[in-house]
Symmetry: C2
């Protein structure tokens, strides 16, 4: 489990971390963000737990909802 | 067609443009890049034509093969 998590450190973990930080900064619940993006609340939750291999189109929708450039949403340091 | 293309301008187009530029800079054919990443040549071609809703895991693999940070692979100006 730990090994798998460490192996996964990278894009999924970055997106999860940045998404959580930006959602909080925008004062949005998972449900509110999900509504903005047209996805289900459980989908947003699974992205924030690095469980999901999100598609580019959905990453773009999340970036738009959070008013951030998609490249910043995947940046190593929190945007 | 044009309207759809314009609507799609964004993440897919950026990835396509940057991928083409970086692949050329690394002197890699679509096939050679595909081999590095473990994907099919036609897959790489479809990404470069903005046809594919690429998953985060595959974007990460492409970035690794091109020795670039994933956020730069999605940057607006060519990395």
């Amino acid at each position: 489990m730990k090994t798998q998590e460490q192996k996964k450190f990278g894009a999924r973990q970055r997106l999860a971390k940045n998404l959580r930080a930006l959602r909080a900064r925008n004062g949005l619940s998972q449900e509110a963000l999900a509504d903005l993006v047209g996805l289900h609340r459980t989908y947003v939750g699974s992205v924030e737990r690095s469980e999901r291999n999100v598609s580019l189109d959905n990453i773009e929708k999340l970036a738009e909802a959070l008013k951030i450039d998609i490249s910043n949403l995947l940046a190593e340091s929190s945007p």
